[in-house]
């Protein structure tokens, strides 16, 4: 106890430097500038008290023990950020702000709790890696230069009720990860709100709200997420499904976007039970052809890998047999959706295989050019369709 009090007293004195290694119990309180890299050793605890303001002068904080931060500001100019290494559920960062870092908070493994934190003006706000099972809730990710929240390397984090605004490239980037829960998040004014990329990214994304983004949701490179009951409105593109990505899109509201769902490069999502009304183009196909996929798909992907991928492939890398579409009939399954009142008239007039004004597919552009050949563009299979708006309370 005496040792603990002494530690507090020492830390309350304004200081310009800390020892490199913290053991035992340490408390930081008040305004401080840290000029040396600090490490909290395994078994040790660092507490940063409410209303503290810690400025890191180009260095960072590494935690192998336990960190408890409440309502504190952790900031600096291009500082390294905080790294949590395999910490337990008793490590928590609650409230306050982390700003100005290359990566505000990096979580390598472990299961810390991050609640109500503002991540602002970092290159990357929060990065979860090495199968981290962290829980991130109620936090704000704003004006981070690249990414607000980055999940990678098999992270199984829970991501609930956060807000992502004005981040430089992506609000959230899910890379080879499947978060255990991804619910109730709000995305606004990002170039890409939510990116789900690469084989092995199969999250279920539920009841998120994405408005005012350039692209609300981008699914890329053989990712296979499921989107249910999300509200995707007033974006330039609601859903962009690219490069062999077979998303399941059910019971979402994808409306009032310039393009509701853009599908390209041999992607075969399933769109069922959605409200696709009010988009300038509800579904738009591009470079999407059963014939092209059958004849050139595998070879092109191999070539693309050669151009863009260097170094030996990880052993768990996706095989072509896993990446190939299982069923190819030249159509996209978009049956049982509500297309809007105006669209309903047109559907009734033109029937099950008409060229609809709100679907841009092989009926509008029969072929596209690629290499030396031209290839038939796939069509959207939209019948049967719903004849009344979706009652979300009953769905």
């Amino acid at each position: 106890m005496v040792k603990f009090l002494v530690t507090i007293l020492i830390c309350m004195i304004p200081a310009s430097a800390f020892s490199l290694s913290l053991t035992g119990e340490t408390v930081w309180q008040g305004e401080k500038t840290i000029r040396e890299q600090v490490r909290v050793e395994a078994g040790a605890t660092l507490r940063i008290q409410p209303d503290s303001r810690i400025v890191f002068d180009g260095v960072g904080l590494e935690v192998a023990g336990r960190l408890v931060v409440r309502d504190a500001v952790l900031t600096g100019d291009q500082w390294t950020g905080i790294t949590l290494k395999g910490v337990g559920i008793d490590t928590m960062v609650v409230g306050g702000e982390i700003s100005g870092a290359r990566t505000g908070l990096t979580v390598g493994g472990g299961s810390p709790r991050i609640e109500g934190v503002t991540f602002r003006n970092n290159r990357i706000g929060l990065e979860l890696r090495q199968k981290s099972d962290a829980t991130v809730s109620g936090s704000l990710f704003r004006d981070n230069l690249r990414v607000g929240l980055f999940l990678k390397d098999g992270s199984t984090a829970g991501v609930v009720d956060n807000r992502f605004e004005r981040n430089g490239k992506f609000g959230v980037y899910i890379y080879r990860s499947t978060p255990r829960r991804f619910v109730g998040n709000i995305f606004n004014d990002n170039p890409t709100g939510l990116m789900i990329s690469h084989f092995g990214s199969d999250p279920e994304l539920v009841e998120n709200c994405l408005t005012g983004n350039e692209v609300a949701v981008l699914v890329d490179k053989a990712a296979r997420p499921t989107l249910r009951r999300n509200d995707i409105r007033d974006n330039k593109v609601g859903l962009k499904i690219h490069r062999r990505s077979d998303a399941v899109v059910e019971q979402n509201r994808v409306s009032s976007n310039d393009i509701g769902v853009s599908i390209a490069f041999s992607s075969y999502p399933v769109l069922h039970g959605n409200d696709l009304s009010g988009n300038k183009a509800a579904v738009y196909l591009e470079h999407q052809s059963r014939q092209w996929e059958e004849q050139l798909g595998s070879a092109t992907r191999e070539l693309e890998a050669g151009k863009s991928v260097f170094g030996s492939q990880p052993r768990q890398s996706v095989s072509e047999s896993e990446r190939k579409p299982h069923q190819l009939d030249g159509s996209i399954d978009a049956t049982d959706n509500w297309w809007g009142e105006t669209a309903l008239d047109e559907l009734t007039r033109k029937g099950a295989d008409g060229n609809l004004s709100f679907i841009d597919d092989g009926r509008d552009r029969p072929v596209f050019e690629d290499g030396d050949g031209s290839w038939p563009l796939d069509k959207v299979r939209y019948a049967p369709w719903r004849t009344s708006p979706i009652d979300w309370l009953k769905e």
């Binding site: 390598g108 990357i124 690249r146 990414v147 980055f150 990678k152 490239k169 980037y173 890379y175 080879r176 990329s197 890998a305 050669g306 863009s308 991928v309 260097f310 170094g311 030996s312 492939q313 990880p314 052993r315 890398s317």
Partner: protein, 351 residues
């Protein structure tokens, strides 16, 4: 000067007598591979150095080239045809797998190396394994369990016992224990511990490496082999000898970002093929704030050069990557023993 010259001459003569004459009874050329065997930082006598050509299909049993035992200053010498070799050392209760294997040896210039030895004695794992077939290994360094290390199992020598291998398991627990599920077969087992926490990439000073002295190991179906695998810390000089460590041909340059500002923490990676898909031929140490890199390789030829800030697998989003763009196909040519300077690699974030 004269005194130093005489000392060097006497040393060469001693090694010549120690190795060449002892082996065949007839005069031979002076050794072109010289060195010193060290244990706990001190010279160790009575150690025999073995060399296997890199073209060998398998290691084990009697090596085609063996030195006479090292003298009381730990010195040894070996006459080797030009080529690349796996070097081993063994003595009474000690063993070494030279950490920078395979080593390029020239007939025109002597190579002087230091081989760090480990003690082979150690406890094998006890207790019930959590696997049906494979290996349980106790990993140790300086006689104490080594936690956080990774065990690698290689099927053969095609990767020169580098990279991820057939199986890569870890980290070892606080007792140094690690288990690998392996089907019946023959394996080469190595262990490494990188302070960076990465599973692949060149070793740096302070990392650990170990080769199981009983390699290759035969795993029987449904059985678990229990082994002790000692590791040795990589010495500091690996960082300072990049210009000559792997051969007399060097490539030097700088890694910069799109604005021309030097990038720290990046590595130059060299490949034999334009696709740059397979394991690199050579990887530099990470750049410092000046962005400068140097790679040494044994042979001249046409190579393909890139830069990146991570090792292993494809560059992920947000990671730095770029190719040498001095030629349209990113290739460069260098003569054997030559030096290319002023190479520039521009890296950018991959998104």
């Amino acid at each position: 000067m004269t005194k130093a010259f005489c000392q060097a001459g006497l040393l060469l003569l001693a090694i010549f007598l120690l190795t060449g004459c002892a082996a065949s009874g007839r005069p031979q050329q002076p050794p072109n591979l010289l060195g010193q065997s060290m244990l706990d930082g001190k010279p160790h006598a009575g150690v025999t150095i073995s060399a296997w050509p890199v073209e060998a299909s398998r290691l084990g049993n009697m090596a085609p080239f063996r030195s006479a035992p090292s003298d009381d200053k730990g010195r040894f010498g070996l006459v080797l045809p030009e080529g690349r070799y796996y070097l081993f050392a063994d003595g009474d209760g000690v063993f070494a797998y030279y950490g920078r294997n395979p080593v390029a040896v020239s007939v025109s210039e002597n190579r002087d190396i230091s081989i760090g030895l480990v003690r082979t004695a150690g406890e094998r794992p006890e207790g019930e394994p959590f696997l049906n077939s494979g290996v349980m290994a106790n990993l140790s360094a300086d006689g104490t369990p080594l936690a956080g290390a990774t065990l690698y199992a290689y099927l053969d020598l095609t990767s020169e016992l580098k990279g991820m291998g057939y199986v890569m398991v870890g980290p070892s627990d606080d007792g140094g224990l690690v288990e690998a599920e392996l089907p019946a077969g023959t394996y080469y087992l190595l262990a490494r511990k990188r302070l960076s926490g990465q599973g692949v990439g060149p070793l740096r000073s302070g990392d650990f490496v170990g080769y199981y002295p009983g390699n290759p190991v035969r795993i029987e179906s449904g059985k678990v082999s229990r082994i002790h695998l000692p590791l040795l810390e990589v010495p500091e000089k690996v960082d300072s000898l990049q210009a000559s460590l792997f051969g007399g041909t060097t490539l030097q340059g700088v890694i910069v970002n799109a604005a021309g500002i030097p990038v720290s923490g990046a590595r130059a990676v060299l490949y034999r093929d334009a696709q740059m898909l397979n394991r690199p031929l050579a990887v530099s140490q990470p750049t410092a704030v000046d962005g400068e890199f140097i790679i040494s390789i044994p042979d001249g030829g046409t190579y393909f050069l890139a830069g990146r800030n991570t090792i292993g697998g494809a560059p992920g989003p947000g990671e730095l990557f770029g190719t040498y763009d001095g030629t349209p196909d990113h290739s460069l040519k260098v003569e054997r023993g030559g030096s290319l300077k002023g190479l520039e690699i521009i890296v950018e974030e991959m998104w």
